[in-house]
């Protein structure tokens, strides 16, 4: 491949071949999109609209941050969409039907998500089911449980105005709290991914699971922890979406996992595992909402919005494949 190179040449090569390139590309794409829509649409460049884009990204962002962990290990989690709904129903039952304080409901939703994630992890690590199949099955289980628990009816939080006020209140710059919560979750996740043992093992599992196992790490246990982490963020997504609707709606959520996975992939998380970043994922999530909202505002018909968003996702995955191939 390369014979002799100067130090600056090899540094450039490593930059081009690193996954920082994908993140750089993703950020560049986001900036271009924002500039494009802002320039051609005076309505887009209003403060309220930028805030709307932030809010529209909150739920998908939470799910995408969570699924990044699992994808880095080389797995996938299709249950985060309906899992999110299941967790929102759990919260509804605790707060509205159980009459318990809001914070217990929040903990309950997060715990339900982590529990569901742990079950996914056990199916993958212990029963050796392929992640696609295991989480596909759990996707249906979660959906069914959400309907059973809620008796297929929405659970309204109207009697608990503190729920909406806490999450959708706008104490800072008119930006609802859900946005800050998503960013906060992102910062936390990024720290975990880059500075803790969980993060190191997440990458290790994705790069070379066998070598990790041989070096004495309890691969099964750590896999379960990773899936539980993804589930925890699905629980957070459930809280945020319930806040936006002031209710837990059991029929919502199917398909949300695809937007979350798309966000992670666009942001540089490789579906083959071993690579990814929270920053990239959040950028990917913003690209999706910016596209959707921008295209709506400039009046692109619904059908074309779908085509364009789909092409963006395909483009991102294609770039990922090119990049890995060029590294040999």
């Amino acid at each position: 491949m390369q014979t002799t190179t100067t130090p600056s040449q090899s540094r450039l090569q490593s930059l081009v071949k690193g996954d920082s390139l994908q993140r750089f590309l993703a950020l560049g794409a986001l900036v271009i999109l924002l500039l494009f829509f802002s320039v051609i649409s005076p309505a887009f460049r209003t403060t309220q609209n930028y805030i709307d884009v932030l809010v529209a990204t909150a739920v998908n962002g939470a799910l995408a941050i969570g699924v990044t962990f699992v994808i880095i290990t080389g797995g996938i989690d299709l249950s985060i969409g309906t899992g999110m709904t299941f967790c929102s129903v759990v919260m509804g039952m605790i707060v509205v039907q159980g009459g318990m304080p809001l914070w217990i409901g929040i903990l309950g939703a997060l715990a339900a998500g982590a529990l569901m994630g742990a079950v996914n992890g056990i199916l993958v690590a212990k029963l050796k089911l392929p992640p696609f199949i295991a989480t596909l099955g759990m996707m249906n289980v979660a959906r069914g449980l959400a309907q059973i628990l809620s008796d297929v009816k929405p659970i309204y939080f109207d009697a608990h105005p503190e729920f909406y006020d806490t999450f959708m209140g706008k104490p800072i710059f008119g930006i609802p709290n859900v946005v800050f919560i998503m960013f906060g979750a992102g910062i936390l996740a990024s720290i975990v991914l880059t500075r803790t043992i969980l993060g190191r093992y997440t990458f290790a599992l994705g790069s070379n699971e066998e070598a990790t196992r041989l070096s004495g790490v309890n691969v099964d246990a750590w896999k379960i922890v990773v899936y539980a982490t993804t589930g925890l963020f699905a629980g957070l997504g459930g809280i945020l979406i319930a806040a936006r609707m002031t209710s837990a709606q059991p029929s919502v959520g199917v398909g949300y996992e695809l937007d979350a996975i798309a966000a992670a992939v666009i942001g540089g998380t490789s579906l083959s595992g071993g690579e990814g970043s929270i920053v990239g994922t959040i950028i990917g999530a913003f690209i999706i909402s910016t596209l959707t909202i921008g295209l709506s505002i400039i009046g692109v018909p619904d059908q074309w919005k779908l085509v364009i968003t789909g092409l963006v996702i395909i483009g991102a995955v294609w770039l990922d494949i090119l990049r890995r191939r060029s590294r040999g």
């Binding site: 809010v55 089911l129 199949i133 009816k153 609707m245 398909g255 909202i293 709506s296 505002i297």
Partner: protein, 334 residues
């Protein structure tokens, strides 16, 4: 290096996937009679009516199901009622339709998500001698014996008239619809738009967005509409999920009460919004009536008696002034 354990795992995975795939359609509800493959009512066995709906989880469809189930109990029939999780899942509905036909029901009640896609199945039903009753959106085909539905064009037209009154006869309005492939999506959108065009030249429908009935997606679309059209005076939400999205969007942008919101169907959130003055009013269909009349029409078809091609189940405009009328309360669902 492929071992038998590997193949065992593969087989186990595929078996699990098959089971999961088979179970992945939405819940079937009311018990079926367990009758054998023989079509129509044998003496002593209750006739079995298969109902394939556009949904089963949304409150509206549950009300339809209740009407159908109660009528079946009263008149002596057994039913199954199923529908996909969302109104964009055309393929899932077709699978349910095939399954229903395979059970050789005495009659089939059907509300198509996509009429054209359902055409071959209508032919199959006809060939098997199973009478088809359309309901709600019905199905755009000559095969159904009758269609039990709301006149959505007239209903959406009434919504347009009310919108005109509410905004003072002029201004910009927008519509959030659930989809553009089903009859209800098309007729409600067109009913509203055409009434505005015909009678209110000073009102413009500036935007129409499709949110699949998802309250969060519809909320984001409504906010985009408000951003693009800052002088917007009114929103029409063409089904419950859509108007929920509009209401959520108004709440998030603190525009409740500043933009007129008119909706469709009912549900707790809309009822509360109308009582609070945030929503101007809505069109309610008669979902329980649709379910009941569907079963009646099926039994009439099974008996071979003639019946009209269209059975109108009626609609009402309701708002703060009449929401507590017993007539209105009877058709609202929570």
């Amino acid at each position: 290096m492929r071992s038998t354990r590997f193949y065992g795992r593969m087989a186990g995975s595929m078996a699990l996937a098959l089971v999961v795939g088979a179970c992945s359609s939405s819940a079937t509800a009311a018990p079926s009679s367990g009758a054998g493959a023989a079509p129509s009512a044998a003496s002593g066995a209750l006739p079995y009516i298969a109902i394939v709906s556009k949904g089963s989880q949304q409150q509206f469809w549950q009300a339809v199901q209740k009407g159908a189930a109660d009528e079946a109990t009263a008149k002596g029939a057994t039913i199954t009622f199923e529908g996909p999780a969302s109104e964009s899942e055309v393929d899932k509905q077709l699978t349910m339709l095939q399954t229903a036909l395979d059970k050789h029901p005495a009659a089939l009640c059907f509300a198509a998500l996509d009429s054209k896609a359902a055409t071959p199945y209508m032919q199959k039903a006809k060939d098997a001698g199973i009478p088809v009753i359309g309901f709600d959106s019905g199905v755009d085909s000559p095969i159904p014996v009758t269609t039990v539905a709301t006149d959505n064009i007239a209903a959406a037209g009434t919504a347009a008239d009310q919108m005109a009154t509410a905004i003072g006869g002029s201004g910009e309005v927008a519509i959030v619809v659930h989809d553009q492939t089903s009859q209800t999506g098309i007729t409600r959108r067109d009913g509203f738009v055409n009434e505005i065009k015909a009678k209110y030249p000073n009102i413009q429908v500036v935007d129409i967005q499709y949110g699949a009935g998802d309250p969060v997606k519809s909320a984001d679309l409504a906010k985009a509409i408000m951003t693009a059209h800052p002088n917007l005076k009114g929103f029409f939400g063409a089904n419950e999920g859509s108007i929920k999205g509009v209401l959520n969007a108004l709440k998030e942008t603190s525009k409740e009460g500043k933009i007129v919101a008119i909706g469709y169907d009912s549900g707790q959130q809309q009822i509360d919004a109308i009582n609070a003055g945030v929503e101007y009013g809505a069109i309610t269909q008669n979902p329980v009536g649709i379910g009941a009349k569907c079963v009646d029409a099926a039994l009439t078809a099974i008996a071979g008696t003639a019946q009209p091609k269209n059975i109108d189940t009626g609609f009402f405009w309701y708002d703060k002034t009449n929401i507590n009328d017993p007539k209105i309360q009877a058709v609202l669902y929570k």
